[in-house]
Subunit: 217 residues, 2 copies
DNA sequence: ATTCATATAGAAACAGTGTTTCAATATGTC
DNA sequence: GACATATTGAAACACTGTTTCTATATGAAT
């Protein structure tokens, strides 16, 4: 359970500049480039992340980035993975609840907060912000890890007989899809304003949780 | 109730070529360009639609397209609007059902079919395939029109006391978001295969409809 | 009909993108 | 210290959306 140094939570303080850390094949340089890309993304959105801008910020030729990441997709993947860690952290920050149902509702609220606080990451992870990037095995696993906390709780609720289903993953995906639908329609400009979106979100969350939980009030 | 000549249902027969229809400011030329763009999109996806490729297919300079549509966004908007008509047609093709609940389930199935048969359009409309395009007033209204059939049915169900809500639009959006969530996660590569996605979709559809309908079996 | 103002035509250029090339240089190893 | 290897860093390539800009055609007025 590494606590993952929470890279993206604070803004643009650059850790290292290129010529100082030209220890090639070095993980430090890799991380420095990822952080440069993330900083551009947080400030101006995913579409502003170009290899040239990242290289400029690093004061290095673009070739360095290609040597370390292969392609823009490779860099996008790193931002994706970083987003997964941030989402996991967001879930971890939710205080445990005795009532599993209430716990799930709180996690649902945390997911909304994540989409608000880390919109760019959200768009990279689930909004297809980098069209050249499609999640492959490792990335899918990273999402699985981020959602693991939710999966565990749903599994527990099942074992305690609170939930009318047999497959935890299916339930997780149903809850996820329902919430993602609202968020993504909102971010895509299909819902007028945030207030309306939040009302929808809360109802979607309540409905989908209620669907699976047996009456236990 | 114009029946909207169903432009995109058949594939690549070009109606007119550029020099023959250089009747500028002409609607025919506009439609011919839109059809050229749509044909490229259907064959190779939205990312393959570039101004140059469209111009090449039309055998005209790119300037003509800029004169008629202003920008790529302008062309994207036309594809968006065309998609809205196709979605409306898809809904219209669903045979009426006496049971409102059953009718809604059928419309839900039609929405799934639309996302499968017109994936490129779906991605343009709801997937942000053209990142430069964000739906403005007219486009939002076009979606509203496409979803009107669903809205009417939900309104009817409310008036007949079948639904536990007061705002039809809210219910439509909740159903829509729930279904869009599954489709978009699937198209984004977050759900392994189509079969799994379809199982999820059917459950999401059933759940969200059941949520609003009072017990009436 | 002829002139004149306007607006297109159509190629070429501009600014940006991801990516690759390639000689110069540094690196690591024997 | 010498040689094979790998990295540098600028420049080029192939593409994108978009804008110039001159020659040409168009439409209106005399």
């Amino acid at each position: 359970m590494q606590h993952s140094s929470d890279i993206a939570s604070e803004s643009n303080h650059q850790v290292t500049t290129y010529p100082n850390v030209k220890l090639q094949h070095n993980e430090l340089l890799r991380r420095s480039i990822i952080e440069a890309a993330a900083s551009i993304m947080r400030e101006s959105g995913p579409e502003a992340v170009t290899i040239r801008k990242v290289a400029e910020k690093m004061e290095c030729p673009t070739k360095v980035i290609y040597n370390l990441f292969g392609s823009k997709e490779g860099l996008a993947k790193e931002l994706f993975l970083e987003g997964c860690k941030l989402l996991a952290n967001t879930f971890r920050a939710v205080p445990e609840q005795a009532e599993l149902k209430q716990y799930l509702l709180e996690l649902g609220q945390a997911y909304w907060r994540f989409s608000k606080d880390y919109t760019s990451y959200y768009m990279v992870m689930f909004g297809g912000a980098f069209s050249e990037f499609k999640p492959e095995e490792e990335s899918l696993q990273a999402i699985g890890t981020a959602l693991q906390q939710v999966t565990v709780i749903i599994s527990n609720a099942m074992e305690e007989g609170f939930i009318n289903e047999e497959d935890p993953l299916l339930v997780v995906n149903l809850v996820w899809a329902s919430l993602h639908g609202v968020i993504h329609l909102y971010l895509g400009g299909h819902i007028q304003n945030e207030e309306t979106a939040k009302v929808l979100y809360d109802k979607a969350l309540l409905n989908v949780i209620r669907t699976f939980f047996r009456d236990n009030r």
